[in-house]
Symmetry: C2
Subunit: 395 residues, 2 copies
């Protein structure tokens, strides 16, 4: 079992303490799995207290020995209930009126109420945005995990092209992608932070199914096989000469890579092939223009301006109400991280950001086409982390 | 695509309105996917308003046409933002001071704050417990979906026993289970309501890995292959004469079935075989004693008393800090539903409850053994919904 290096955890805690000091907070309680893993190296049922200076304390409900093994933190303490948490904090001298941060974007109301009752003297603030902005910049260790995840995706595309046959259902293809992912070490979940957002391991979107709009904040959704999930693969059988869009995600040591390729048995219709070529053009534009200091909103507008010169603008990143308002997103411990390439996100690119760029084109009744790759922002511009050189994968 | 029958939705809304009236609330806003699906038949990005009497209104952000198709509700209205939601409610006459229910066990703090700002005149209450108690009693339609999910599980066990070979990794077995599940129509997610609880499609737990405690509130956890997920299958290779525990879940039209079987290549060690037989004895005890009117806590104590007469009590449903404090749980749209067979749950059994009974035995270093089946509470007692007659599956 690979645990998170101590240097990583120390660096992340120290950076977060800088944020807490800037926000004039005395500390923060971290509870959500992705954040807990980021700052402590474990998701064992715990509460992490990060003071604005000094050492963090991981208070574990279950499983204690495992948390001690997984987390490189110095203070890993068994504390089964909220009462015990109060005692531990008291023992470490955190008493009286304190300003404390919480992940208010994800913490449920009832859980918050219970903390308010246990610590009536605390004054609470939201630190979720600060955490997400820290997590936006990846360390070399984190980038290495994303590269490994990308390696599995590449293997998956190369293997699935030998498996897909005309008449196979989307769900069967999805199942094979799940088999490959797990066999190679995919951790078994793709975390999303957004409220009510849920993802299957892959979206297999053949022909007209690829153009079906879903609740997801994404250019693609798919029909799925039940309104209870309403996304991804269905029992539709794959046909010749239609796009088979495969959006595929896997996670290694928490970190996700995310890729989209269009596959086809036979040939793509000309109009769709042209749209696909234009997706590649947007990737080239991004590779030329994206560098530290360029704003996310500007990159979005640049791409949109290029699209508006073509006849494809109605199809870009969704059709009708299915249009997504972004062309790329950060990813790491969650799939929906900062930065977002959208008009409302003025953040400038920085070295260490990882962005999944997904310029897609949707044709109602015919399908979805395009290409998604993950890029690292470097001093020199961008470096592709995903490994698949093939653009349209012909079967 | 199978949509939820209108009679189901009408019955559920009417029952919930009874709760709202009892709680003296004017209505409730429903936001979370599982609840939204339960009351509206769709998880398209929406807010459902259920007044204490009269007709419910589904306000859809995305995707509108799809929500109209999926939901049998009469009032399905496009309402993109919280401002529009206010307008729709005003148009329907819901103005001024109102007592409104929310799912406070799952709604994030920030989302709640935004609703408080949009509706400063509303007084908010928690209705999550009322919803969970409604969802606890299943209709024949819901039971049919669980039966279908159980059918896939049975197929999965019968198929995987032809696939597992000595030396195969747990992750490869897990991948094959995912392939079978998806190919047969598993919806692609197993929803859990509990804070930070997450599940892979299956837990494949061979030998000593089955005894490893995790953060999950479950008798089994498993090693997993990274502390970022910390459960389920790992790269461990399956050996002869050791238990291969497989906990397997799939969902059909939202409804989950959940089963555990022990598989073995060769023979189980005598002590583990005896523990397995004792797991069957607890199932027999349950089948004799469980009937409408019997309390969940009493059933728990009855099982525990039986276990305490044996030398197995230290191993029952976990070992050491890994001990789970329940022997069974409800399931439906989420895996962790009411009722819970635990000392703290005094609820009496009622016709229509579905319970996954999982008396397991954990032997540190050697593995986990036992059996989990799903039972429906009927007038006559219980009826098994899972289909696998084999107890230990020999390969």
């Amino acid at each position: 079992m690979e645990t998170v290096p101590i240097q990583e955890i120390e660096y992340r805690i120290r950076s977060f303490q800088g944020c807490l000091q800037e926000m004039e907070l005395d500390g923060a309680l971290i509870l959500q799995n992705a954040d807990l893993f980021y700052f402590s190296g474990t998701i064992q049922s715990s509460i992490l207290f990060v003071p604005c200076k000094g050492e963090a304390i991981l208070m574990v409900q279950k499983a204690f020995e495992r948390a001690r093994y997984e987390s490189p933190l110095k203070h890993v303490i068994l504390a089964a209930g909220r009462g015990q948490i109060k005692k531990v904090l008291n023992d470490f001298g955190f008493l009286g009126h304190r300003k404390i941060g919480l992940e208010m974007d994800v913490l449920p109301i009832n859980l918050y109420s219970r903390y308010q009752q246990v610590f009536p003297e605390f004054e609470w603030s939201d630190v979720s945005d600060a955490i997400l902005r820290l997590r936006m910049i990846k360390t070399p260790y984190e980038i290495e995990q994303i590269r490994r995840a990308a390696g599995i995706l590449h293997k998956g595309y190369m293997e699935i092209k030998e498996i897909i046959r005309e008449g196979m259902t989307e769900l069967e293809v999805d199942g094979h992608l799940a088999l490959i992912a797990r066999r190679e070490g995919h951790m078994g979940v793709l975390r999303m932070r957004g409220w009510n957002q849920e993802m299957t391991y892959a979206h297999v979107l053949s022909g007209g199914n690829g153009a079906i709009t879903s609740f997801l904040d994404s250019p693609h959704g798919g029909r799925g096989n039940t309104p209870a999930m309403a996304q991804g693969a269905s029992f539709r059988r794959i046909e010749r000469d239609e796009p088979i869009g495969i959006d595929y995600g896997v996670g290694i040591n928490g970190y996700v890579a995310d890729q989209f390729r269009t596959l086809v048995i036979g040939e793509l219709p000309d109009e769709l092939r042209r749209a696909h070529d234009f997706s590649l053009e947007i990737h080239s534009l991004f590779k030329e223009e994206a560098k530290p200091g360029v704003s996310c909103a500007d990159l979005y507008h640049l791409a949109l301006k290029r699209v508006q010169k073509t006849g494809l603008k109605d199809h870009f990143n969704g059709y009708g109400e299915g249009k997504a308002r972004f062309i790329g997103h950060g990813l790491g411990l969650e799939i929906d991280e900062y930065p977002i390439l959208t008009p409302r996100f003025n953040q400038k690119l920085e070295v260490g950001m990882v962005i999944a760029l997904e310029p897609m084109f949707v044709f109602p009744g015919r399908g979805i086409i395009g290409l998604e790759d993950d890029y690292l922002i470097t001093d020199a511009g961008v470096e592709r982390l995903t490994l698949t050189d093939q653009t349209v994968i012909e079967l």
